[in-house]
Symmetry: C3
Subunit: 277 residues, 3 copies
Amino acid sequence: MDLHLGTCLESVRRRRPLVVCITNFVTVNDCANALLAVGASPVMTDSPQDACDLIACADALCLNIGTVTESSAELMFRAARWAKQRGIPVLLDPVGAGASEIRTKTAGELLDSGAIGFLRGNISEIQALAGKSSTIRGVDVGAHDDSRAMFDANSALAAELAKKYSLCVGVSGPVDRVTSGERLVLVENGDPLLPRICGTGCILSAVSAAFAAAAPQDPLEAFAAAFALCGLAGERARALLGPSVGPASMRTAYLDALYTLSGEDLDRGARIRDVKE
Amino acid sequence: MDLHLGTCLESVRRRRPLVVCITNFVTVNDCANALLAVGASPVMTDSPQDACDLIACADALCLNIGTVTESSAELMFRAARWAKQRGIPVLLDPVGAGASEIRTKTAGELLDSGAIGFLRGNISEIQALAGKSSTIRGVDVGAHDDSRAMFDANSALAAELAKKYSLCVGVSGPVDRVTSGERLVLVENGDPLLPRICGTGCILSAVSAAFAAAAPQDPLEAFAAAFALCGLAGERARALLGPSVGPASMRTAYLDALYTLSGEDLDRGARIRDVKE
Amino acid sequence: MDLHLGTCLESVRRRRPLVVCITNFVTVNDCANALLAVGASPVMTDSPQDACDLIACADALCLNIGTVTESSAELMFRAARWAKQRGIPVLLDPVGAGASEIRTKTAGELLDSGAIGFLRGNISEIQALAGKSSTIRGVDVGAHDDSRAMFDANSALAAELAKKYSLCVGVSGPVDRVTSGERLVLVENGDPLLPRICGTGCILSAVSAAFAAAAPQDPLEAFAAAFALCGLAGERARALLGPSVGPASMRTAYLDALYTLSGEDLDRGARIRDVKE
């Protein structure tokens, strides 16, 4: 195992990457607060003129289609092009891909653009983007999409997608998977209450974009570090608040933990497995 | 009294209804978190293409005009039609009706569409929709609109509106009223701090839509159960945090309580009165 | 010192000013909750028809360009005109001025309109609006823009801007500055964690608009009272939660403090200095 997760976190805190987010209006505040908590500098935009200027000095771009419209999709295509020209990492969160045509199509076309370096979704979204039927309803993972029986097949699917588009794929679930196509890392940090808190997926995506910006040498390592940190933040919140905690208290403690966890905490607490070369 | 409030809550948790929300950008995150807390599956949209696909597999539609524009009003009209065609419940929260022409007109035309099955507002909004002048300022209830002296007259007004449009009307206030026109249920749960927390009205509307979806046999019962649950959540938060609690702490505890309260808690804690047949 | 800060707060609580906000979708919920907490009545809008009706009975208008687009800029220009015609105070928060052309241009044109009575930003934004180059990146203050060595020069810059546009300028920083051009008030309340919480700048702007509405006799006094209250709320939160608090817990306690602090608390806790006539 040669992953330096704590170093990635320290790099985010030292470099303070500017992360431009074109994201949904549901969890936009959570994403901004999570980016500030890990030490990044967030800026949100919904305008082409603004995005163009901001991307010109940004360190990463985070695209999230959670409330995509025709005009915001167009903005995302342009922003992805600008970011690609500048060579900064672009992360896509395909929220609800498979649940509506505009979501599936927008995410697919963004992948086709060749600008996306990081794709972070749940397994239903990944299945939809791989052309498999999923049982997604709305934006939550379908009931049968992430069963234990399908775990290996789903990992293979994620790896294929990673190879097809030459990017890193991160799949959230009871066990997270991060893959470059060649290499697969399992992340077993987390808490079962996190999916009941709106925005934990979007937060993970935004944080991943910051890590990609601050630790660009090894994209898979940076991505895995973001997954481990967010999972560990959930564990820290649970340890603090106990078994009967509600989701709103958990959210507060989770965001606090993104701020208080150190690189050393992350190295000690991460439960990751490199399962193949 | 034959209301089975706890059963309604358990039904939401078991069926996990998919609730599509076309709502304002102020409280959209609160609505999503509240729906997750009670056990529903929320999805928010601002696009016709997206809404059309999502409604095709949704269990309820929640319309909220809190930051309505000409284009979002048009989206709401179309969404209401699609939901009506599918026969799923549609709830309207006429935020600020009476305070601006676009709000009053949009709410009125949505009612005229015949698609709305549930209307949830404060008394100033209900007065405005019933063609009475109200003293509403912005989105808060007018100072003189909900006096004790007007309580019975206001209840009669809500009942008339319910009959006129063949729907259930729920009016928030120091004592909540839920009426089908024929029958009136008073809900006396709640806490005086709730109106000082942005979004508690919108949350009640979103939660009501989930209850309408999961317990469709008796719409009035489902609606009353949502009111009692949200009021009881306020009481639970207050009991936990004491007399000097501030609104932000109260909000966290309130959302937690929506998650932790059981059907049994609801049956035991609900303070409702069926005042007429 | 003849500033009556506590009286200003009590006036907000007694008059309950209606504050219309045309603001960004990132911190809009925080602004609404902060306005409710201090005792004001917030209403948010994104539509010309709506804004026109709401401004007709509003007590103040708060403009925030944090996610400005061409169409929201146009809405702000119109709203500023309507507010000026009615003679109500208009506050501008030039979020990210200097970081993109649309932000700098929109803020500049709003100042040129003559409708703005209060301008609240960080020092990078103020420098950009004064035509100086700033090192702003995104929406955070540039690393070298607020050094101690530049403190007096920056104060002079703010005063010039205040004179040029005949308005009050409030600059957030380690030490806040509020100036009418003639007079400069330093506010030393606050906490170093506040800038790591998304929305504390926007909240300060919204609260300032409420104070401007409720205590119009002395605009500088009203503005300084809002700064002192928000800074003191950060101190109160810190005192409650201790040195190792995270930003999300801090935010909750900060919003609570905006609600619980009394006029007397404010007079006792404010650390302000009138530095010149």
